[in-house]
């Protein structure tokens, strides 16, 4: 069981991811934008972050850079509906651990996220 932060501004996408992760026993907290997410990160220690790119308050990349300043190993997964060529490479170069594109595949989503979690000691 991991503690996961989901930062996503679309209500029902956020709810979907929340439901999927919670059903598999994870502890999930949600945020709708950068400042919300920053506040959660300041108060809770997470095992992973699912981060939409196009979110209010400066965008997911900004929040990623803030996280990376103090934590280089926590899995931060870009979670976008973007389809532009080269996006995946760009996200990995920014420092994301992985990239998952929307729409998600409900049957494999959680397993994919879990595969990026660090082994618990």
């Amino acid at each position: 069981m991991a503690r996961i932060l989901v930062v996503e501004d679309d209500l029902w996408s956020r709810r979907l991811v929340f439901e999927l992760l919670v059903q598999r026993g994870h502890n999930v907290l949600c945020a709708a934008g950068v400042s919300d997410g920053r506040q959660q990160l300041d108060t809770v220690r997470f095992d992973a972050v699912l981060l939409d790119i196009n979110i209010p308050g400066g965008g997911g990349v900004l929040l990623l850079h803030e996280i990376r300043e103090y934590n280089e190993v926590i899995p931060v997964i870009a979670f976008t509906a973007s389809t532009m060529a080269g996006d995946r490479e760009r996200f990995l170069a920014e420092g994301f651990t992985a990239h998952l594109s929307k729409p998600i595949d409900v049957s494999s989503f959680v397993a994919t996220v879990e595969s990026y979690l660090l082994p618990t000691t």
């Binding site: 679309d10 709810r15 729409p103 998600i104």
Partner: protein, 445 residues
């Protein structure tokens, strides 16, 4: 004296006269002979006078003629000179360019009216022979023309060729070309300037440039809009498809009708997603934004990839997929993702338009410097009328049942463009009730 006379041999003519009158130089002749002699001498003088007069007269006549001839020549060369001058003048005036020729001493040698027009000067300004006066008058019509005067003055002494555009105060643009004038032996004898109104040319050029920029900006705006739209549409679709699937795959009890409707929501959501993806792909290609990542690809792998994705659809429809038989076919130069898309589109089309119990086969063979991949079905076939609109966007053929087939109606339009981007071709052969064969040719690599 007598001795002197005898010593001199008389002039032959005198000797002849003496003999005629029977006298000689050593004797005094009788009176008759003397008179006769005098008569002959006198006659001789008269004849000599007459000859001289005639000569003088003839000299006078020819001198008059010479004079006339000379005057004639003079007149003729003058008129020729005038004629040549008139031709030069006419040439100067018929030029589209304004022309100004000056000598080394800043004297105006030639200038045409067009020059005055372009310099916004009255024709009377051309009366001056002073270059400086003319040029400074002309520069008054040029933007910041007064600031150019020192440069023009310096230029006068040089052999430089100058070509530039002058912006006039009234907004027009003058193309100005000036160069030294040289005699055949290279001596610089002055300078010549040609000027031309290029306002319309510039304006047309600028208009074209502006139109091109606007078109490019519009195309970019369109691409950006489509990319954004695609993103925005996919976000809610994520929730629609995901939440429907969540219920379908979940453990909550559902009655059959709820399950059926949820299936409808999920499948319509996927249909909408496919449309969004295809529209985006098609617009990217049309905006020239679709780049191919070309690499050498084994055709067998590409076909296996495309077929694997269609197995569920083929099973559901009861259509048999015959594994491809591929022998000794070279690799193709293609974008892996796009080649898969091409094959997927063709094979899924074949499956959709083949009745239960039918079969879809795939063949690949080497064909010159291309590889020909054929997707062959024994399905419903395509009528001759429908063949012509196969590759149009949103033109879908109806299934024999009358139902709309699944898919976006963009598959073949997209496939054709993708094939052509690879430098390949797509052909179709079909007979109603017998089947259809699509053949795609992709360059080897």
């Amino acid at each position: 004296m007598a001795a002197g006379v005898t010593e001199v041999e008389p002039h032959p003519l005198l000797g002849q006269l003496l003999r005629k009158v029977g006298a000689n130089a050593t004797e005094v002749p009788p009176v008759a002979s003397w008179r006769a002699l005098l008569g002959l001498v006198s006659q001789g003088f008269y004849e000599s006078d007459r000859d001289r007069d005639a000569l003088e007269e003839s000299v006078e006549v020819s001198s008059r003629e010479m004079q006339r001839l000379y005057q004639d020549l003079k007149r003729r060369s003058e008129s020729e000179r005038l004629e040549q001058e008139a031709i030069m003048r006419a040439t100067l005036e018929s030029a589209i360019e304004g022309i100004l020729v000056v000598d080394n001493h800043r004297r105006v040698i030639a200038v045409n009216r067009r020059f005055a027009e372009l310099a916004r000067l009255p024709q009377s300004a051309l009366a001056t022979r002073d270059q400086w006066e003319l040029v400074s008058a002309a520069m008054k019509a040029v933007k910041r023309g007064d600031m150019m005067m020192p440069r023009i003055a310096a230029l006068q002494q040089t052999d430089a060729t100058v070509h530039e555009e002058l912006e006039m105060r009234d907004g027009s643009v003058i193309d100005w070309f000036s160069a030294p004038v040289r005699t055949p032996d290279g001596t610089k004898v002055g300078r010549v300037a040609f000027c031309r109104d290029v306002t319309d040319e510039r304006r047309t050029h600028q208009d074209r440039e502006r139109a091109r920029e606007a078109a490019e900006a519009a195309s970019q705006a369109k691409s950006l809009f489509l990319a954004n739209m695609s993103h925005e549409l996919r976000t809610p679709l994520n929730a629609v498809i995901g939440l429907a699937d969540l219920l379908l795959l979940g453990h909550d009890p559902l009655v059959a009708r709820q399950r059926e409707y949820l299936g409808g929501i999920a499948s319509s959501g996927r249909h909408l997603l496919a449309l969004v993806n295809d529209v985006l792909d098609l617009s990217k290609i049309e905006a020239g934004k679709q780049n191919l990542d070309l690499q050498s690809i084994a055709i067998h792998d590409a076909i296996a990839d495309g077929m694997a994705a269609i197995v569920p659809l083929a099973n559901a429809r009861g259509v048999m997929l015959e594994p491809a038989t591929i022998v000794a076919v070279p690799n193709v130069l293609a974008d892996r993702v796009r080649l898969r898309q091409i094959l997927y589109n063709l094979i899924s089309n074949a499956v959709k338009f083949t009745n239960r119990g039918g079969m879809v086969r795939i063949r690949a063979r080497s064909d010159g410097d291309q590889v020909a991949i054929a997707v062959i079905d024994n399905g419903v076939g395509i009528g001759p009328d429908d063949l012509s609109r196969l590759y149009r966007a949103f033109e879908q053929l109806a299934l024999p049942s009358g139902d709309r087939p699944g898919g976006t109606g963009l598959g073949l339009a997209l496939t054709k463009r993708l094939v052509e981007m690879h430098g390949g071709t797509i052909d179709v052969a079909s007979e109603l009730g017998v089947g259809t064969t699509f053949t795609v040719r992709i360059p080897v690599g």
